[in-house]
Assembly symmetry: C7
Homo-oligomer: 95 residues x 7
């Protein structure tokens, strides 16, 4: 994936997910924001059903560790329905 | 939640709430703005019914104390219907 | 409402009001702009009826004195129908 | 209207008017722009009828003399239908 | 029209016109741009008919000579249907 | 066309064209961009038919040579359907 | 294609493609971003079907090597349906 000194990093992820209503988005956002390489998490509730809520999770960072993000989301009983956007950059070295 | 020196803070909250018409939004906004870590409060009335008004409360700050915000809202007889957006940041230490 | 040195001030008000057609908005805006803490007043006419006009009054300032604003509006025979938006800030001391 | 050194000035006017088609908006705009305190005049034609045109006249300046503006408009056989917006500022002294 | 040293100048004109299809807008725009006081001409084709095209001509300059612009447009067999916008400024002296 | 030292130059062209599907827009854009005075070419495909594609070609430069652009477009078997916008400027001398 | 020292480079590509659902866009974006001259890749999922997803791939860089990009996309079992936009610039020399 390029010359040794180059690295491709994830800068933005937009995740569509389904969460139980009893999980507060204040807690969920804080948990995701503690993942490696994450700088900012923005969660918007787009649909509310009897037991679940559809949320759009925007994650921004210099070098987002997607595996850790996915693990944290699963640990909070939230199901990723789809990854709707990924933005990657190539940097001289991993930040 | 990260290395000792790191901290995740709430920078923005968007709250959908139902308030009695006799509570003026000038007073409600001032009360919320006195909560720890809050810098700015913007309340917009989106629906007016006979006895209640639906309001969108946007709260911005460097490190919003959600528990205190929720307590102040409840003390003013306002019911939080949903938290529609949360934005959190990771900072070197709590601001 | 916070530590002694802190103060919460109103920076913006959006008022929906009903005014008699014979009150010119040039005069009404000047009168409101003379209230304590007001810097700018923007009045837009949104509906015209036989004897009245619906106006949206946007008031901006460093520390708007709402009581004085409300008094001036009433003295001009204008009825506040609702306060549609309030923006408050917390400052080190009242400006 | 405030302490002696303060003054409230009109910075913007939006006027809805009806003009005879034979009055060119190039001439009308120049005439209005010669009024005291006016810096810029923007006239947009929004409707064209057999003998008349509806125009939106935006007038910007540091301290617009509304009475002179109204007199010039009348002298050009143009009828003010309504003043749709007024923006006033409070300044240390009249500019 | 104001004190001797002041002058009202046309800064923008928006003209709605009908042109024969065989007149290229590249030539028409260059011709108008050569008028006194004109700095920029932007022509957009908004409708195409069998023999004619409707164009919106935006003319920008420090002190547009409308009479010369009108003459050039007529010489190119283009008919001005209406002047849809005029913006004038008052300057210390004509630029 | 003005005093000797003045020159009117084309800064922007928006061309509506029909191209055979087998001509790649990567090649077409590079070819147009090699024309005299062209700095940037942006081609967007707006409609796809069985054998042809409708494209909007935006060409930006300090002094676009339209004749050369038209020749290159024709050489690539692309038909100009209309020139939808031209922006010209007057400069002290040709750039 | 111009004088020896000039070069036309691709700065932006917008590709419409169809990908198997089992290829994660996090991996696909990283692979494309490793192509020569690519700086940023933004993939948005616009439609989800039983086995495939439609994606819009935006590729930005100083001098994008389209052939390498196309090869990488094909190697990931993704079919390019169309190239919807190309932006090219002319530079003094290839970056």
């Amino acid at each position: 994936m390029g010359a040794p000194a180059l690295s491709v990093v994830i800068r933005k992820l937009l995740i569509d997910a389904l969460k139980p209503r009893e999980i507060p988005i204040t807690e969920l956002s804080k948990a995701i924001c503690s993942a490696k390489g994450v700088k900012e998490v923005d969660i918007v509730v787009t649909e509310v059903d009897a037991k679940t809520e559809t949320v759009k999770i925007t994650i921004i960072g210099q070098n987002i560790d997607f595996d850790e993000v996915a693990k944290i989301i699963a640990e909070n009983s939230v199901a990723i329905r789809s990854i709707d956007q990924v933005v990657v950059y190539r940097t001289r070295r991993a930040v």
